[in-house]
């Protein structure tokens, strides 16, 4: 397990790069997650990896350490109720509101892409059912490494068996050696952008729906409201932010109203956004 000094240093460097807050009780799991990285980089131990990161001026090793610790337990269709809400209510409402204009959806903290591709499958199925849906899906994460995997559309057999019904697997994927590759159509339906949640998302444009599912728990309580407030700045007038199942609006999100995980601006904020 990482000793106190090593852990404090890793926690500080991770927080400065991603904003994520590591708690002391993850020191053991952190070492397990960093061991493969240490080996890949040619170090015998995680302690050697951390020592090398301290003296390497370009910060590349710290970034790799942050990425190794940031990968969340994402899966296809994680939180079925959220996707049902999206399919039955939020997406049809946004399509109706937009008319012939494109609906924009952001998956904030999308990790290796399972969430945005799950949305792309839903949109694809809506089109098959005759819904004229012009939808742009953006997956955003701070880690280029995670986004590279997302862009590749390649997933292991374990990954495609978590949350993905078999009929969707054979409809949207093909075998590629030992891996499964998502169809070009779905790959082309999702755009992946580098974005750090500690920064304002202005550069990504405005969105009708923002998914922020099981991301906030990685951050310190005082940081969570800042992230939500920054993201809701990127919501179009009637847009919504969707939290993960069991997640609630953090304290300090004034002017926002959450019902059943769907966060909307309060009346006063909506008026201000339109103005």
């Amino acid at each position: 397990m990482l000793n106190d000094a090593e852990f404090a240093l890793v926690a500080r460097e991770v927080k400065s790069r991603s904003g994520a807050a590591l708690s002391r009780d993850v020191a053991g799991p952190a070492e397990i997650r960093l061991t493969p990285l240490a080996r890949r980089e040619g170090f015998a131990t995680v302690t050697e990896l951390i020592s090398a990161a301290r003296i390497r001026a370009d910060g590349a090793l710290w970034l790799s350490i942050t990425e190794a610790l940031a990968q969340s337990d994402t899966r296809f269709f994680r939180d079925k109720p959220s996707f049902q809400k999206l399919r039955a209510d939020l997406l049809p409402a946004a399509i109706k509101r937009r008319g012939h204009e494109r609906v924009r959806i952001l998956c904030a903290g999308c990790s290796t892409g399972q969430e945005p591709y799950s949305i792309a499958m839903i949109v694809d199925e809506m089109r098959d059912e005759g819904v004229a849906a012009a939808v742009e899906i953006v997956g955003a994460d701070f880690s280029e490494k995670l986004l590279d995997k997302a862009r590749s559309g390649l997933y292991t057999q374990f990954e495609v068996q978590r949350g993905l019904p078999i009929r969707k697997l054979i409809a949207h994927f093909e075998k590629s050696g030992d891996l499964w590759r998502i169809s070009d159509r779905l790959r082309g339906a999702v755009k992946f952008e580098t974005h750090n949640l500690m920064k304002h998302p202005g550069g990504l444009g405005q969105f009708d729906i923002i998914m922020l599912s099981h991301v906030l728990s990685a951050f310190a309580p005082e940081t969570r409201a800042e992230i939500v407030n920054r993201l809701t700045d990127a919501l179009a007038g009637e847009g919504v932010l969707l939290l993960g199942a069991g997640e609630s609006l953090p304290a300090g999100c004034d002017g926002l109203v959450a019902i059943d995980g769907v966060v909307r601006r309060g009346q006063a904020q909506r008026v201000a956004a339109v103005a």
């Binding site: 899966r75 057999q157 949350g163 019904p165 078999i166 054979i170």
Partner: protein
């Protein structure tokens, strides 16, 4: 308690599946091939069947085709659990009446996820 018939010629796989499924509150019966499974179903139809493909005496796919012809054989929810991982094989299983399909190797998380997909949880 709901019953699940675990059909696999490997005793180790049956034991692993039994352990996971018992934690998911299923009562388990075991069969080592398709014919044994068919006999078990004729005695009492289970709610769920976890089914291997390649087995001696009668394969999983032959068992499934025959099961779906039996009185009450449309009732059990069948989840294939096999090393067969080609799209053609998966399609063949679904066409024969499988409800879900799981590729080996698997773990408790995948088994849980597949049973949830099949509406068994």
């Amino acid at each position: 308690m709901r019953r699940c018939l675990v059909v696999d010629d490997s005793r180790v796989i049956r034991k692993v599946a039994r352990r996971i499924l018992e934690d998911m509150r299923f009562e388990i019966e075991e069969a080592a091939d398709g014919l044994e499974a068919l006999q078990a179903c004729r005695r009492q139809m289970p709610e769920a069947i976890l089914l291997d493909w390649t087995m001696p005496v009668m394969s999983g796919i032959d068992f499934l085709r025959q099961l779906r012809q039996e009185p009450g054989g449309d009732k059990p929810t069948v989840v294939f659990c096999t090393t067969e991982n080609d799209v053609e094989r998966i399609s063949e299983a679904l066409k024969a009446g499988a409800d879900e399909y799981m590729m080996k190797p698997f773990d408790g998380d995948i088994l849980h996820s597949k049973f949830a997909e099949a509406g068994l949880l």
